[in-house]
Subunit: 377 residues, 2 copies
């Protein structure tokens, strides 16, 4: 068990075909050759063939398949890991990646969150309540307009102010100027109020563009960055986290929903494994259709004890309303960051927005204080 | 039209909700804020809101939605393009990305294939018949065993011999040694027979690992490389093609099937746009379930005239049988590369495999000579 990666798939295949399909999938995800060819090679036969651990027909139809796959191939590099997990398997419309169990032998290959929940809390100096976040948008605002927006939210008491994920190096708000100005605003408000506000710019582009942006952003002193792991590619995300970033990472789910992978596994587990400190996901009751069960499972996977990895902070988003803060805190508990964009931004920048942000922050604090479940509070 | 990106989605939404859903999706893919907030900003209102061009209920249920999206945001960088095409939209289970039309204003942002069909043919010196390819596998073979396999296939007349996509920098067959030896084999066979054989190693890992592998492989003189764009991330793929590779790219579909994007659009069009010269896909009649219609559409999109972009070579694969060569050539026509791995590799390395490879090459040539349809031949 210590040296085998366990992967759980759901097969949407009629019961009479499940055995054959499972065997074929095992070959697909390991040697990708006819069995007779693979068996000819001793090292392959003995160490690289993997194994069917469980094939359990489900009442609802289909089956749950658990494969043990050899770490010799999965652990070689961060691209190869995804390849072994769901490379060619992804091409089968009948296959869903449900979960995976990492063997301790692979723990040191992945960073997990470098800050995690406690690290992010320490950075913000907030230990006793859920956190809040908002977004700078829409794309199209000038740097001056962004600075006003940023100031309104910072003065309202929002903890983390992130770029909209559509921000890139647009000519009407060039990356460096935008980041410098917004960072100046949060620094000024932090210094004046004694309450740390973090600004997280969005890094986007090819690896060389993103590396340059990361350098500029960190030189400006930003407290975190926003990255979309599926858009940039998980291997590049891994390299950014392990080699280039000194600040926490807020992971954005853009381009991630289309994967036929359970969201709690992709966002809650794989993103955490690859180093996300805070994980944005579309919460129930918003613009997207993730269920309460999915959201609960995702938050659990982000936070639960797991080998050497720090817990990551779940960040429900996607059309959350200011008025729902209490419900969200009751659902997700204390270790959560509520990301509320549009619902805040309906207020005009300036005193009106600041007041609305402040109302949000206060209702979050009240909801947290009222948490009766000791596991949550 | 010249400055608008057109994107076609299929909405799996009941007819009474289609109007509202389409409007929400337009906002999602552009400003991601409530409409009233976006409309406050003149530049957003005038240039960045996009437009619903068509919303057509379908007989089978659902609707076809065509959005025009502003290139100001889509064209900023290769990550942003995907973001605008299918970033948050991918999180909606009711949305499928069907197609997109690139405005001429964006043509110079994307490389398309640098070699294309004619470039690959020129490299191989083969202009009058379909091409053949095979794979070095299973992972677990030693470098010596790989060299024997490679020689058998090269002597049998296979045009392109690629690494299995599971090859990475494995300790039992380290990248540099493996690539050097296989390249020596194809060079020796090419020199002796006067027929160019191309070896395409698989590059895998984080950007820095892949860049090092690309350098080694090109120093060894390889004729092409194998890359999995969805595994590495499309922006990194773009950067590799535009800045680091001097040889044609064979694109592998690993991790690409899970996307809720029509395969003909993702593999046939987006991979081509980002620079793939040869595009591997799971053909009908193999281990995967792509239909004939999907395969035909994919091959068409890879090869059809499209702005300034060279045609890319379709490479049907995924359990193709040597015995089906004729059928595949008749289906796909002359400009195709048949990738046949396991079915060839059932023969033992050495004279048996060489003979089987030769039989494949001959049946492909015969099938091509017999092509009656002048459009195909």
């Amino acid at each position: 068990m210590d040296t085998r990666l366990e992967v759980v798939y759901r097969l949407e295949v009629p019961s009479e075909e499940q055995g054959t399909f499972a065997r074929a999938l095992l070959l697909e995800q390991t040697v990708e050759t006819p069995e007779e060819v693979a068996l000819r090679v001793p090292v392959v036969r003995e160490r690289l063939m993997g194994e069917i651990v469980e094939l359990e027909p489900l009442e609802a139809g289909g089956a749950r398949l658990v494969l043990q796959l050899p770490v010799e191939t999965a652990g070689v590099d961060p691209a190869q890991f995804v390849n072994v997990l769901f490379g060619n398997a992804s091409l089968h419309e009948q296959v869903i990646l449900e979960d995976f169990e990492l063997p301790p032998a692979l723990f040191d290959r992945f960073p997990g969150p470098r800050f995690g929940i406690e690290g992010v809390r320490a950075l913000l100096g907030v230990h006793d309540r859920p956190l809040t976040a908002s977004a700078l948008k829409p794309v199209g605002l000038s740097v001056d307009e962004l600075a006003v927006l940023c100031r309104s939210l910072a003065e309202g008491g929002i903890d983390v102010i992130k770029d909209d994920h559509y921000w890139a190096d647009h000519p009407f708000a060039p990356f460096e100027e935008r980041v410098r100005r917004c960072q100046e605003v949060v620094q000024e408000v932090s210094a004046r109020t004694g309450r740390r506000v973090v600004y997280a710019p969005s890094l986007s582009g090819t690896p060389s563009q993103v590396l340059r942006q990361a350098e500029i952003a960190q030189q400006c002193g930003v407290g975190a960055v926003l990255l979309a792991p599926m858009l940039l590619g998980l291997p590049f995300f891994y390299e950014l986290v392990t080699r280039h970033l000194e600040v926490p990472v807020l992971a954005h789910p853009s381009f991630a929903g289309a994967q036929r992978i359970l969201p709690e596994t992709l966002l809650g587990k794989l993103f955490r494994l690859y180093g996300a400190d805070m994980i944005i996901f579309p919460s129930f009751g918003g613009r997207f259709s993730y269920s309460r069960a999915t959201c609960r499972a995702l938050a659990e996977r982000a936070r639960q004890p797991w080998g050497p990895y720090r817990p990551a902070l779940p960040v429900p988003a996607g059309g959350m309303q200011v008025e729902r803060a209490r419900e969200l805190v009751e659902f997700f508990g204390r270790d959560v960051m509520l990301l509320i964009g549009g619902s805040l931004l309906r207020a005009h920048p300036g005193p009106e927005l600041t007041a609305r942000a402040r109302a949000l922050v206060e209702s979050v604090a009240e909801a947290a204080a009222a948490l009766s479940d000791p596991d949550l509070a």
